[in-house]
Every structure is written in C-alpha cells, then in structure tokens.
Amino acid sequence: MAGACAALAAREAGADTLLVSRAPGATAMSSGAFDFASSEDDAPLAEAARRLGRRAGHPYALLGEDLIPSIDAAIDLLRRSLPGLRLEGARTAADRNLWLATPLGLSKPAALAQGPIAAGDLRSLSTREGRLGVVALAGTQVVEARLVAKGLSELLAPLAGAVVVAADLYRQRADALRTVPEIAHDLDRPGRRAELIESLGRAAAVAHATALLLPTLGLADPVGARAEMERALGLPVFEALGAPPSVPGLRLQRALSEALDKAGVRVLQGIAEGAGDGQVQIVRGVECQPVRAGAVVLASGRFLGGGIRCETDGRLRETVLDLPVRAAGRSTLAALPNEDLFAQRAGGRHAGLMAGVEADSDLRSGSAFLCGAVLGGFDPAREAGGLGVCAVTGLVAGERAARQAGRVASSAEARR
C-alpha cells in the first residue's frame, strides 16, 4: 500500500517512477478496509488522527501541519486510483469512520472500505429494523457464522438482529474443506453466481433475513456480483471483511497493480538492495541491475513485508539499505524477558512489533524517503491506523521524493 501510494503520488507529481516489488506483502493479507485513525468516542478522522499524531514516534507526528491535508489527499488518491473497488466511506478527514463487522462478530472502524464491504456499515444497519443474515457457504464458515451472528445481534440491537443463513450451494462432503479464497475463485466461474443466488434465495427465505452478509462475493467482480444478487434477491447484500488469506486483500493488491500500470509506473519484480554508491540495485535471479534514481522511497514493510528483519542474535536490520532500526529505542530484541518490547499477553502493546527506521520530519533517513510499516512507531492492532497510515505516508513520501528527483534532474540539466 505504502509503495503503491508513493509511486502513484510521485507519478502524479510528474516523476518517472519505477516500483521494485519483491512479492505481495501485508497489503495482500489486509481485510479490505482502510483504517486511518479512530477513537473510542467515535471522533471524526481528523481529530482521531491528531490524537495519534501526539504520540511520540508515530508517523503522523512527523507530518505536523501536513497531517490532515495529507489524509484528505490520500483518501482522494485511493478513491481516484482504485475505481474498480468502488471505495465508500469518508470523503475527507472531517468525516467519521464506518463500523464494519469483523470475522469474530465484533466491530472495526475504517475510514474507507471496498464498496460491498462498506455497505454493511453497522452504524447504518443498527438504525433500522431488520434481520441480517450471516451467510455460511462451506468450510469453517458454517461454524463461525453462528458466532458472528451472535455478536452482530448484540451490536445491532434493539432494532435489528442477525441470524445464520446456511446456503446449500456446496453440498459435497469434500466441500467442507474449501477455504474462502477457494470459494471466491469458484464463484468467479461462469454460472456459479446464478446458482449461488438460487441457493441464497431459498436459505434467506427460511431464515427470514432482510439483508445478507456473505463471506465473499468472488475475487474478480464483487461490485457486479453484489448488484446482480441484490436485483435477483430483492435484498441488500454485503461482503464481509477478510482475514488472511483475505480475498479483499488479494483484490486490493490486484487493483493497486492495475492502478500503477494505468498511471504509467514501471513495476519490476525483484529484490532491491543497496549499492555501494548510495543508490540501489535490483537483484533478479542471478542478474543484478543498478538503478540511477533522483530519489529513493523505501516502502518495504516491517517483518511481514520483509523490510525489517530480526537476526537470530536479536539484531534488528533494515533489509534494503541497512538503515538503523529501533524498537523502543533499542537496536536488538535480545535478552528477554523484556516487557518493554513484548507485553505478557498477546493482546498487549508490543513495542517490538512496532520496530522501524526512525525518520526525520521530511520522512527521510539518510538519502531515502520512508513510508509505511518500515517507519515503525505505529500499532495497527491497537490504534486502528494501519493501511491508512501506509497510504498517507506513502503519498507524502512519494510527493517529496518527486520534488527531490525534480531538483536533481534540474541541477543535472543545469550542469550540462
């Protein structure tokens, strides 16, 4: 997300942009929602983001006065660049979050979400009478749907409730082993959508559901699938957030690739690493290709993305340019037990998992601009600011890198 936003922003600023990508990372596993910031009192995005920006070390703290305009710009960039996803939710930082049903039957705040997901905003559903059908297609969903329905009933009460809608599309014994991505691929096959609609019609009638929340609407065209289902069933249809391996995450990754292509960003599959001259080189198999760039943006992610690695001796390492990495002010994660780094409980705040490269107010460390999770200092799990933080910092880093590249190009021109 950060790398794509940086590349798109740089391209829009006129820079000739090359994106080096090793492999899909955390974005491809994300839920389908874009979380910029939230607060327990449901404050508007801008207010929630300012509160995060007051936390030392948080990337929002580096943006200063640029924070809110950058959020506005990031929302706009995402909406413009990913038209196929029909993103819905906030239009500016003055808006409030959507509240979306999670795979555990709880609610999660997000500023933006893919259209069919955003339509299931619990804030809106809870204001009118209704019976949300949590659809179970196959596999573990059949068991999980009951927990989700129970949780959503509590959240939608007193006007609305939730029930399980067990579709009978997958009736073979081996269907029980299907995962959500496998079902999504299956639903993309010709004719399967119509069969699903038929099955849902029967099941929704039995459960007296007035709206349906599906685990997936397929990978390829959820917007079209939703429209077709709503027409045929006469019911509102929503798609659930995805847990890894997440269909909305895979879809987002695909949409970003298309956006980059459309914007004219060149994308190279390979491993970026530092070259001796402060530049980078791209390693692909046995080939090594040096890159001359007016500016370099590092958007390589944290542990999951591979941008930060902790060696077996506990030393933290930034994997591309070997920039200094810190977690809670330390450069190693060794010598545990250390509650400064990892809380005793899984749900605690783990400074060790917020490791990253420290950047200046220009989002720079050394000669590189930084964005996204490689920056560290933020905790998507407890701050409801994950993908959104990556988008905002990506946009800012991309714009600033483009400016620097422009200056470099101008001075080179002048020297000639």
């Binding site: 839920s31 068991v143 927990l147 902790c310 545990l336 005793q344 409980r345 998992l353």
Partner: protein
Amino acid sequence: MRDYDLLVIGGGVNGTGIARDAAMRGLKTLLVEKKDFAAGSSGANSGMIHGGIRYLMTDPQVTRLSCLDSGYIQKIAPHLLFRIPFLYPVQPSRPGQPSLKDRAFLYGADIYFEAYDRYQPLKNGKAHTRLTDEELHELEPGVVAGTMGAVTMDEYGIDPFRLCTLNARSAKAHGADVRNHTQVTRFVRDGAAVTGAELLDLRSGKADEVRARVVFNAGGPWAPRIAALAGVEVKIRPGKGVHVTLDRRLSNYGIICKAIDGRDVFVMPHEDSSIIGTTDDDFYGDPDDLFVTQDEVQYLLQAVEHTFPAVRKARVLRAWAGIRPTLYAYGPLEDALSRDHAIYDHEKDGAPGFFSIVGGKLASFRAMAEEAVDLVARRLGNSAACTTHRVPLPGGEAPAPPAETLSREHAVTAFAAARISYRHGAEAEEVLQLAEQEPELRAMACPCEGVAFAELAFSLRNEFAESLTDLRRRCRLAMGICQGARCAGPAAALMSEERLLSTQAALAEATALLDERWRGNRPVLSGEGLAQAELLQGTYFTTGALGSPRGKPWR
C-alpha cells in the same frame, strides 16, 4: 457430601495413573486437578517413554523400571507411541585430531550402550550399533563433519497430554469421578486423620466437600503445597527443564549433542516438529509462574548447532518450561539427582489417611501408580490385582485404522486422517463419524495440525475439555507453525456452540488460547517468528478487533 474410597489430587501422569488403577480395582475414586490433565510437569517434559539410559550407572533400578513399563505402555496405547532411533555422534575435542581420551570415550560409550542393550527387549527396542563417521552421515547428512562415528539406541516418543487424558477417561469408564479445574482448598479432618477435602470448582466458583478414606497427593511440583495444607512436609528439589520447539522435523532421528558445559542435550522429531531439550536447573520460584529466558533458549540452540549446524535454519516456534519434582537431596548437581520416586504414608507425620508420591519419570508412571495403589488397596482391604498393564487405554483396543482408509471414507485430507488416527487410535472412526452426522464438523479447525472440528467436538463431549487450552492439550490445537493464528477464532466459535457460551465468553476463550501460545513465543521471537506474530496480530487484533472496547462506539 459424597463418599469415596480414594481421593487423588493432581491430574498429571501419576495422578491419572493412580486414579485409573484404583478405579479398575473397584475402589470408589475421585480425581481432582486444579488446572487440566497434564497442564503441569506431565505436559512439559520431552514427550518420551524412554528407558533412562542416563541413570544406568547411578539408578539402574530406574532404568529397569522405565524399560519394563515402556513395554507395557506400548501394549496398552500402541497408537500413541512412536519409535525414535537415536544417534549419539562422538566429536573429537579438537576437530580432525582425535586424542587418546576421545577414543577412550567412544569405546566407553560403546560399552555403556551395550549394557543398556540388556534392557531393550523389555521395551521392544533394538540393540545399539556402532557407526563409522561415513555410516553416520549416510543416515543423517546434517550431522557436522569429522566425527569419530556414533552409537545408536532405540527410544519411544509419546503425546503426554493424551496419555494423561486417556488415563482419566479410563478411570471414569471404570467408575471414577473425574474433575479438572477443581482445587483442593482445605482438608477435612477427623481428629488427626485426613478424611476428605473441600473442593472449589474454579470455573463455576462453587465449593463442595467430599469424604474419602484415603487421600493421595500426586501434585508433582505442587505436592509440597498440598502436603502443607494437610500440615505435613514433603520435600522435593524442584528442577526447571526448558525445551524448545522447532517448526519442522530436522531429522527422522533423535540426535544427542553436547552442550557448552558438557551436558547431553537432544534434538528429536516429535509429530511434525522437532523438540530440543533440556536444561536442568534448581528452581526456587512459583511453579504457577514459569517463564523461559532467552539465555536458556540460546544454550539449547548452541548445543544442537555444535553437532547439527542446520538447526539455525529452522524457525523456533516456542520455548516452554516445566518443573521436575525430583527427590530432595542436598549436594549433588541437578543432573546427578536421582530420578527415582518415593511414596510417603503420612501417618507417621501425624496425618493418617494421607499419602504423597514424588519423583519418578513419565516412562514408569504406570508402575509407580501400581505401587501406590497396592499400598492404598492394602490399607482399604482391597485385594484386587492390578490390570493396568493389560487393559488397553481408550483407542488402544485395536489397531488404528489406516489413514488412507479414513481419508477416503470420511473425505478429510490424508494429513488430517493420519493425525487423527495417531491421536485416537481405534476411536478415530468414532471421531470422524461425528462429521457424517454433522457435516460442518468435517471442516478443518486447525489446518496446521490436521484438527477437524469433529475432533474438537469429540474432545469437548468425551474428554473433560472445558476450554480451548484444554483442547490444545488433547488435539494439538494451535500447536503448529501458526501458533493459533488460523484456529483460535474458528475453535472459539465451536466452543461457543458446544458449551452455549456468550460471544464475550467465547472470545475470552480465544484470547486465553492466544495468550497461552504467546507466552511460549515471546522468548524466541526473531526471524520469521516476528512475521508470524505480526500476521497473528493483524488477524485477531486489527481485522478481528479482538480486545477492542465492546459495545457500539458509534453512539
């Protein structure tokens, strides 16, 4: 108030073994455990029914008893044991330059293992073999080059959690009452005699009182505390043992390695992982609050790396610790302490009717239980003979159905069928029949360990499982490479159905399971382990919103 012949306190291998034996002899028995079966030392050992070759010099009776009982355990739970051929490579003290002392050591090792061969027939083990360096590397190329050769020996692995659960189930099948998550808060006395106990159900908060003609303290490292409740002293020398679990089977052999201080440390295959163990250090803390330090982990990894360098390429999944309730002795180093057991009749301490058992080994639990129940039976005038060495444990009655057959007939993956077949033996068919009756139970709750919902449901209905962490012990839920990232939510959903839990209670179960796993992950977080931790955080706490404030924030 209920009356029993025997109240057994402690659901480890000794407690469950005693309860089973007593129930099979017709004694009216109650087994209580404050946590869960094998939640303490019995679940924190190496998972081996080994013959105790280490004790051959100092405690040959321990070696003999362990080997003899290992043979019996193979007969009563054949599905649960798996053979582990061990290699003991001998490295020269200076690479490439074996000294006279080194040669003498190898010669000595050969003779020592030959002495152990005498006990191997008791446990269906093969006699040792001496291997050249070349032969060793043909068997296991991962061993460091330039050894002087190796010596082999045969041992057996086991799932200690299931062993304890099956003992408890067998006790119940023979008439015992079984209560886990139940703590003894006070003993009932009739004069000096211990005649019962006040029990507190830790899940419901309800207390009750039971009477028993004999009370047996099988609390392992908690035995001194339980004894203190009865006003008597039981002394042990608690020893902390740390193990490390790797994400893969490094080798199909167990390999004995030398640690930096000369101690023997092993790495061995266990299910689809490897276990490295163990440390042995005097422990002065609270057995309810064990943690592992990174030093302990590095000590074990270094030891294996010395002989098997590729260990550093494996991902360390977790580290875990247990406390050995070793017999008390002042003076010897921890490793030199006897692994023998002792049974105390506290009548001489002024508490007639109260007994304790401490020490011993997993491998000889059945024989120790037999000895303990012999004593109780004599006291109670029961003359029935012990039959625990002949009567199979649940699932051991017949050969386990082949995994291929289970997979084909029940439409589960071959991997899941193999794991279910191992864990449940002859009962595997019954487990998977649940999926025929309730089709949604065929789905995989824990793909890493091949745990179907049907298995979880079977365990919840038949094996005293009251929480997800209980299911973890019985079915290996969340014990695979993702450490709960994929299964905690789905399993909580099933738990909610089976136990009619509220959303909040079901998610508290998921949280407890993730916390338990995290406790073992924390000391080893590095490399890909941190990526896995980040993914788990994303799944449950970012996308799932677990732990976020409840209610409707939008109001």
